[in-house]
């Protein structure tokens, strides 16, 4: 059963076409990863899926329903929640208020107390910082907060755009451990990453994106063995 189904998706900015007909499935309960170097169209793909930019062609289905034309907040209301690249926490709001904003959707509001307990168990450090302004947190803490904020909306599909970007190695591992924990709990996730090693280690299914097209796809462990991947990304 597919959570997300993307068919022949094309989009871009102004006159510049970035995505050239992408096909991609995210299966329920799995962690699907998109790998690709800078400029391969990963972020454009996610922005199109979320409706931040409009698709030029193709369609997007979520739980069998066509959501191609929905706006970003409508998609969030349906349960597609993205943690954006660069975290984008609300800097002048307290940590607690950021979590409240995470639970803005109807589904999030109804389960606020449960979700809060869950994210605090996932990131105990956040609780100590409830009243601190989010902008004063360290980069790692902001990433934890961004993930926690996303989880507060009770996502049905959780999309993470380069969560390890700009973090110290120890924190990168912490982020991946968190993602793995969520995966073990059965959360459907779509991860976009540049960190090939760690992504392949925990992922169920991988798409390799290059120049706006899917170049390869397969199960995580299979691609980890593939010569092409090793050459292109692992440098061995």
């Amino acid at each position: 059963m597919n959570s997300l189904e993307v068919r022949d998706l094309e989009s871009g900015y102004g006159e510049v076409k970035v995505l050239w007909g992408l096909n991609l499935d995210v299966r329920k309960g799995q962690l699907t990863t998109i790998l690709g170097s800078n400029g391969s169209g990963k972020t454009t793909f996610l922005r199109t899926v979320m409706g931040i930019i409009n698709p030029w062609n193709g369609n997007i289905k979520f739980n069998g329903e066509d959501v191609t034309k929905l706006s970003t907040h409508q998609k969030a209301e349906k349960g597609i929640i993205m943690v954006p690249e660069g975290r984008l926490v609300f800097p002048e709001m307290s940590v607690y208020e950021n979590l409240e904003m995470g639970a803005y959707t109807k589904r999030g509001r109804e389960k606020f107390d449960d979700s809060l307990e869950f994210v605090v168990s996932l990131f105990p450090r956040l609780k100590e910082r409830f009243n601190q302004k989010a902008g004063t947190l360290s980069g790692g803490e902001q990433q934890m907060l961004a993930i926690a904020r996303g989880l507060m909306s009770r996502p049905d599909l959780f999309i993470l755009d380069e969560p390890s970007l700009g973090l110290a190695p120890k924190l990168v591992i912490e982020v991946f451990e968190t993602i793995n924990k969520l995966r073990e709990q059965g959360l459907t996730m779509l991860l976009v990453e540049q960190n090939v090693h760690l992504s392949l280690a925990i992922t169920d299914y991988v798409y390799v994106l290059s120049e706006g097209r899917i170049k390869m796809e397969g199960k995580g462990e299979e691609l980890a063995e593939s010569d092409e991947i090793r050459k292109a990304y692992l440098g061995v």
């Binding site: 706006s71 984008l88 609300f90 208020e97 959707t105």
Partner: protein, 286 residues
Amino acid sequence: MNAEVLIDSIISGLLLGLVYGLAAIGLNLIWGVMKVINLSHGAFIALGMFSIWILYTSFGIFPYIGIIMILGLGLVLGIITYFGALHRVIDAPELSTLLATFSVSLIIIGFGTFIFKTNPKALDFSLGGIEAGSIVILGTKVATGVISIIFTVLLYAFLYKTRPGKAIRAVSMNRTAAELMGINSSLILALSFGIGIALAMVAGALIATIFPFTILSGGGYELKSFVICVLGGLGSPIGALVGGITLGLIESVVTLGIQTSFVPVLEFALLVAILVLKPSGLLGGK
């Protein structure tokens, strides 16, 4: 100049400053959330003046009841204006929104001039005064100051304690992130513009209880709002109140020594001085 006259001016200036601050908060909120410089601010201030005048002279509604109705009217007019004039250009470069709000201003003032002409009006209404020795503070000024504080506090409570208020703050910090959390940012922008306009109209109505006005009066108060925002730092509502008080005090105390017509010169000299010396405003900010 004796001490009593000075005290009288300081109190007057403080009370007037509070309503100037309230008007500026309306301008400030719209800038802070939408990054729109609202050039129709003054026109809506004038519209607030005429609204209270019509409510009082034609319908006999007590002005301070009228203000609550004007708050609602401003909210509705602001939201209509947002969807009519701003929604389509909100993501365009700032010049487009500047022109859009300027057009709204021209439309309001055009119709206003046609309907009301440009001769001065005044609310024939008094609350008496508070006397202390030879100092008399007009009741309308006291009411204006107090109501301005109440509205400022209410706005704060709204922005910090309610769900839509928090959504406004979230959108002002990062519109994309807010959308990703399920916040309908277009509605929030419309609401912010509505609140900004409502505050401008209420401030106009309060000013009309003190001073005579014409449909063109808004322009002067709009400029004051800009000076206040610069004084207090754009994007800082508390700064706007402090800036308002500063301007009110300058206006009423300085006029003891110089001609009233010279006041704008002083205000704008101050504006230029702040822009040169401390562009972030007196209270810092960003």
